[in-house]
């Protein structure tokens, strides 16, 4: 009998990460595209580091940041009383950092494509920058935002190295499908590994097809 729990955990992780990522990336993309501030290019390069770094390296640094002595781990412990490492919340936080560039880039590209005169027209018509963001920029960037959501979802679904480093493999908590597949192969349980792997293929294919359609619009 196949254990669907890792797949459920993967989908839950991807869904939560995607929601947070879109909420974080949209205002961040606005700040990068429309607001001038010192150190912007340095900040952007820092955010995009997960594209260039191996997941294990990211996971290694996240271990420190999210550990009890790290600033994020310590702050979380003060707030919730519990730790971040080897918890579901911890792998969500790791996934958000790891997938941020994949959410940010399509949204940023979509914001750049919005005619700047639309923004100016909204300002002249009396809209504040925040209202302009919600009433003009976001509705005219829906394709980019949808593409970002899909890419973030798929990227979070497939995360392995980072999750292994900061979450380990705790059943019902951090043992997501990608880790379960790895462990099944290690244990020579090829039947379960094949079934779990097969679940990924149609999901990823359909989502990518959808992204391609969106990018053509």
């Amino acid at each position: 009998m196949m254990d669907f729990l890792p797949l459920y955990l993967s989908i839950k992780l991807a869904a939560i990460s995607t929601l947070v990522l879109i909420g974080v990336s949209a205002p961040l993309a606005y700040l990068l595209v429309h607001v001038k501030w010192p150190g912007k290019s340095f900040f952007e390069a820092l955010i995009n580091l997960p594209i260039a770094l191996p997941p294990t390296v990211i996971g290694f640094y996240l271990l420190f940041v999210m550990g009890p002595r790290g600033w994020l781990g310590a702050a979380w412990e003060k707030l919730s009383g519990g730790g971040l490492l080897f918890t579901f919340t911890g792998i969500v936080a790791g996934c958000i950092f790891y997938s941020l560039p994949f959410a940010l880039q399509p949204i940023k590209a979509a914001f750049e494509k919005v005619d700047p005169r639309l923004r100016e027209n909204a300002y002249v018509l009396g809209l504040s920058p925040v209202a302009t963001f919600f009433r003009v920029i976001v509705p005219n960037s829906l394709n980019g935002i949808s593409a970002a959501a899909i890419l973030s979802f798929l990227h979070s679904m497939g995360a392995f190295g980072v999750i292994l480093m900061i979450g380990g493999s705790i059943p019902e908590e951090t043992r997501v499908a990608s880790i379960a597949i790895y462990e099944a192969v290690e244990a020579m349980d090829y039947d379960n590994a094949a079934k779990l792997s097969l679940c990924f293929v149609p999901i990823s294919y359909l989502f990518l097809l959808f992204v391609n359609r969106l990018s053509r619009k």
């Binding site: 005169r117 100016e120 027209n121 909204a122 002249v124 018509l125 509705p139 005219n140």
Partner: protein
């Protein structure tokens, strides 16, 4: 509402240095060749560009004063602005666009009816013609009930016939609403038709004798020269 301004701004090619007044309920046309700084001037008035130095006063309110560090945002200037190209919001219908900043929904409906767009209210901007889009842009600017209307070559992308119809419609409603208007154009006939006063702008400066220079008796027809001297009687095409 009258507008007084003195603006200085360094651009890549020249320094804009203008000083003019738009009297209450009058239309002032800024005319000049392409790249002479007309659009930059009108954008400074709207708050979309910041002058290096100067002062803008509109109906007793100071909108910009470099000496006292005043620079009101476009949102606070209470002006209507019609852009050169179509700047309707593509995700909204014609009705939603017209009423985007309307203080009163009925106002937008009235304007749509006035400009003959009521039957197109449910369409998106890409589903109507260029003339209809620009009519809607005028509705959008007027529905806000601005104190001053700024028009940046609003009909330059339209064909001659549509342009003539639109400027007649615009002139009528402008008169009805007693709006002060600043109108940017490079079309002398349009300026003569729309404006009470014409201000030629060349390389960022006001050159009052520019019109006389380009349409001198030696280089133009008698009708054009007469039109310049008697703007109220002119509509030469």
């Amino acid at each position: 509402m009258s507008l007084q301004c003195k603006l200085i701004k360094q651009t890549d090619y020249f320094t804009i240095e203008v000083d003019f007044v738009c009297p209450e309920e009058k239309t002032l046309a800024l005319i000049g060749p392409s790249g002479s700084g007309k659009t930059t001037i009108i954008r400074m008035l709207a708050g979309l560009h910041k002058p290096d130095r100067g002062r803008i006063e509109c109906g007793g309110r100071t909108l910009f004063d470099s000496e006292n560090g005043i620079h009101l945002s476009p949102q606070k200037r209470e002006m209507g602005y019609v852009f050169q190209d179509y700047t309707l919001f593509p995700h909204l219908t014609i009705r939603e666009n017209a009423g985007f900043a309307a203080k009163d929904v009925q106002e937008a409906d009235y304007l749509l009816d006035y400009f003959g767009l009521k039957h197109l209210g449910d369409r998106k901007p890409h589903q109507v013609s260029g003339g209809e889009r620009q009519r809607c842009a005028i509705c959008q600017a007027l529905a806000k009930r601005p104190r001053l209307l700024l028009l940046d070559e609003p009909f330059s992308a339209l064909d001659v016939v549509t342009r003539r119809i639109l400027r007649t419609e615009l002139k009528r409603i402008k008169g009805e609403r007693k709006l002060s208007t600043i109108y940017v154009t490079h079309d002398i006939h349009e300026a003569l038709f729309m404006a009470d006063e014409i201000l030629p702008v060349v390389d960022g400066r006001i050159e009052r004798d520019w019109l006389e220079k380009i349409i001198s008796p030696a280089s133009s027809s008698g009708a054009q020269t007469k039109a310049l001297r008697e703007p109220k009687l002119s509509l030469v095409y």
